[in-house]
């Protein structure tokens, strides 16, 4: 059921604690950035779960991390320091940005987690990135083998790839349905589906998505009147209240580019002789976080393609306040969308969102998008 995604999202820690009891032979690794090579972890019977914030005020991170660091990292760190991820057997990050690094360092220092750092390349477009990253994944695999005390075989890796790729294929299939004039699933529920996939056992979530695709989406309308079709993009976003608000004031979010959305699952693993090379290749080719999109701007054609294919009237660009990677792409993307005829609205998110002022801005944006009907 679609409603299950929300249940997992809202009760993530209870789900995980119960899951651990049922699966005593598995370990759990919490990670922050969506570049974590989950295939290798599934292969080792380690459940990777993405660590999220709680969107509630907190008073524990100030002694550890500067206030000008992004709200997402501060919120995640708060959850770690408050002990809400104590059920994790380890934490890990891939290199994405220094804010993530800082949250990770502070958690390792003060919580004493077993920890893994995967130095992902940043210039994903470089031809040298593939041999480098394949090698790094080989070392990561060895570290995980030492930790779990057993070898990860090729069959294990194939199983890991299959679990993660199935999840990606299923979510892509759900996203395809949102091209319909009356999308069968809202932007809010789509986001919750991706978050649930990131924060819980994919084998379980895959069953839910399969059921939703087969039994719930056919013939369904997410809303009686979908209103104005919008794209939403930017940095990490699991702000349910904000997304809800946008869809309540006359819009449907039909496509996104978030690491809690399409960026997480858009492409699957392509077969190669060497499985680690195949996994590395998939991460290098995924729609990139802006920090990894250089020297050429590959995001622009990809995002314009999404906007056109999902037939949107406008784009909401949101980012975590102080998120440098997304700030660095802000002007180029806004200009590209505007030039292509897609008006944009730019908003900054914090741990908690000022819904009232944002509602006014979103309503004003929708009004401008609908202004052609007035004249």
């Amino acid at each position: 059921m679609i409603a299950d995604f929300e249940k997992i999202y809202e009760n993530r820690h209870d789900y995980m604690k119960a899951w651990k009891e049922k699966n005593p032979d598995w370990k759990v690794l919490g990670y922050i950035c969506s570049y974590m090579p989950e295939e290798i972890l599934y292969a080792a019977n380690v459940l990777p779960i993405r660590m999220f914030g709680a969107h509630e005020p907190q008073n524990v991170t100030e002694p550890h991390i500067l206030g000008m660091f992004c709200p997402f990292c501060r919120d995640v760190l708060a959850q770690g320091l408050l002990g809400r991820y104590d059920y994790c057997d380890a934490i890990g990050i891939t290199h994405t940005c220094k804010h993530v690094n800082q949250a990770y360092e502070s958690m390792v220092t003060h919580k004493g987690f077993t920890h893994f750092f995967v130095p992902t390349p940043n210039k994903m477009q470089a031809k040298q990135a593939l041999p480098y990253y394949s090698g790094i994944l080989g070392l990561f695999k060895k570290q995980i083998e030492e930790w779990v005390g057993r070898e990860i075989t090729d069959d294990d890796l194939k199983r890991g790839i299959e679990i993660v790729d199935t999840n990606r294929r299923l979510m892509r299939e759900v996203y395809e349905t949102r091209k319909a004039e009356d999308p069968p699933i809202s932007g809010r529920d789509s986001m919750l589906m991706v978050c649930a996939s990131e924060m819980y056992d994919k084998v379980e979530v895959n069953k839910i998505i399969e059921d939703v695709l087969k039994n719930e989406l056919p013939g369904r309308k997410a809303k009686d009147d979908p209103g104005i079709r919008l794209m939403i993009l930017g940095s990490e976003n699991d702000d349910v209240k904000f997304v809800n608000m946008v869809e309540e004031v006359g819009a449907s979010l039909v496509i996104d580019d978030h690491c809690t959305g399409s960026r997480y699952f858009w492409n699957t693993t392509e077969p190669a002789d060497d499985l680690l090379t195949s996994i590395a290749d998939r991460y290098l080719k995924r729609p990139p976080c802006p920090i990894k999109d250089m020297p050429n701007r590959s995001r622009i054609p990809h995002l314009l393609g999404l906007a056109r294919e999902w037939d949107v009237a406008g784009v909401i660009m949101i980012q975590q306040k102080f998120c440098d990677p997304h700030e660095l792409d802000k002007v180029a993307l806004m200009d590209a969308f505007e030039e292509a005829g897609f008006p944009t609205l730019y908003l900054e998110l914090d741990v908690t969102v000022p819904l009232g002022p944002f509602r006014i801005r979103v309503e004003a944006f929708l009004e401008t998008l609908g202004s052609e009907d007035l004249f």
Binding site: C97, Q102, I136, P295
Partner: protein
């Protein structure tokens, strides 16, 4: 009469001349239409040295704008506002915002219009760097390339040789490709000999700067941090040139002589501090204010490492000047050999760049090393809103120092955006700190 003798540095004038000549050269290249390469100065600047070119580095250029802005705000606040008017967020890297503003306003702080480079070449040393010159190239319409930089982990992490080899090969192979790319976009032949010389000189000059910093272990210190800003800049701007090597040889001789004769940078040195992160360039007077208490900042992980090559010696458990090729008994003969050596040098010995990515336990170790070996009493931490690369880990550093019983003074600011600096509040914080550690103004004793 002070506690120690002091006298001006003899090579001070030469440092100023060398620095100004770099910018004069860029202006001349702009006017004559010869090759200009732009990018971060902490990029692999020996790479384009295979061509006859002038290099325009973004960070020292930003610092120059900030300094010029003290007298004429168009160069600081004015350029910042131009960048913000073009929709760029104001919490991004302050040097970058000055560079973009300068370009948008078409004004060069050293006179005339902003120089348009032949191409931009960056090394992605922090999360901003690779994107910074992507933006500049968007606006300038010139070719752009970037080398990804994934540094070695700090010594505390015990990184395997296999992992280091992967990183070294990754950077080396990118360098080799960038050389081909530069030949392609310029249509000019790359001179391997010039490149190999540049790598040798870069390693030599950064080794010499590290040795100069070692001289500051003496009591009294022959240099203070404020002097070092004008001295390390030579390596920042032109470390790949022989003139930088010659300058640092001269400086090292002079520093040794000062140490031998007990010449101090500050005559009333009695409390030795180090600084963390870049200073607020618009308000360097805070260092003079601290001297009223007899406190002198005599270095920083930043000023030691930005222009210095430092190697960790596991046996002695300390950092020492890294050996350049000749001292290590290595002759670089080919482009490939030079790239391999250069890649390793940057990944292993550039401690500031390493700290931009791994700022936790490794940086604590390096700071502690400086505290122990440079006889440091306290640390002054600039919570720098203008450079997140150096600001990462600062609050954890403060906690670490407190746990070790080392006094730490924190103040908030921005290296280049004066709008985010509160001088009276900073003075209050300094006063409070000095009271805490029992120091009064010398004039009041």
């Amino acid at each position: 009469m002070g506690k120690y003798k002091t006298e001006p540095l003899k090579c001070w004038g030469k440092a100023k001349e060398l620095r100004l000549n770099v910018y004069k050269g860029i202006a001349r290249a702009r006017d004559e239409g010869t090759m200009i390469v732009a990018g971060g100065t902490e990029s692999a600047i020996a790479l384009p040295a295979g061509f006859d070119m002038d290099f325009l580095g973004g960070e020292p250029y930003g610092a120059s704008c900030t300094f010029a802005g003290i007298k004429d705000p168009q160069w600081s606040k004015g350029l910042m506002e131009a960048t913000e008017a073009a929709k760029f967020p104001r919490d991004m890297c302050a040097y970058m915002r000055l560079g973009i503003g300068s370009l948008l306003e078409d004004k060069f702080v050293f006179g005339g219009p902003y120089p348009k480079p032949t191409f931009n070449l960056q090394t992605h040393i922090c999360d901003t760097h690779g994107k910074w010159y992507q933006i500049m190239s968007d606006i300038e319409g010139v070719p752009y390339n970037v080398c990804d930089y994934v540094p070695f982990e700090w010594e505390t992490e015990n990184e395997s040789e296999e992992s280091k080899a992967l990183k070294r090969t990754y950077l080396k192979d990118q360098m080799l490709e960038v050389i081909d790319w530069m030949e392609g976009v310029t249509g000019k032949k790359y001179d391997d000999e010039k490149f190999i010389n540049a790598v040798n000189w870069e390693c030599e000059s950064t080794n010499l700067w590290a040795r100069c910093c070692m001289e500051n272990q003496a009591i009294p210190a022959p240099m203070d941090e404020k002097m070092m800003y004008s001295l390390y800049i030579i390596a920042v701007l032109m470390r790949q040139q022989k003139a930088a090597v010659d300058f640092y040889k001269e400086l090292l001789d002079e520093l040794k002589d000062r140490v031998k004769r007990g010449i101090a940078a500050f005559e009333n040195e009695r409390y030795r501090m180090i600084h963390d992160s870049q200073p607020p360039w618009h308000n360097l007077g805070i260092f003079r204010y601290m001297e009223e208490f007899g406190a002198v900042v005599i270095g920083a992980h930043y000023s030691f490492g930005l222009s210095g090559g430092w190697a960790y010696d596991a046996e002695q458990d300390k950092y020492l000047p890294a050996k350049p090729p000749k001292e290590a008994g290595v002759t670089l003969s080919t482009r490939e050999e030079a790239c391999e050596w250069y890649a390793n040098w940057l990944l292993e010995y550039h401690t500031v760049l390493r700290s931009l990515r791994f700022s936790g336990r490794g940086k604590h170790k390096r700071i502690h090393d400086i505290i122990d070996n440079w006889n440091i009493d306290a640390v002054m931490i600039h919570l720098n809103r203008g450079c997140e690369g150096t600001a990462v880990g600062q609050m954890e550093l403060r906690r670490y120092l407190a746990d070790q019983g080392i006094p730490a003074l924190t103040y908030e600011g921005n290296l280049a955006d004066e709008r985010e600096f509160d001088l009276p509040r900073t003075i209050d914080k300094i006063d409070t700190f000095m009271e805490t550690v029992g120091l009064k103004k010398i004039s009041e004793e």
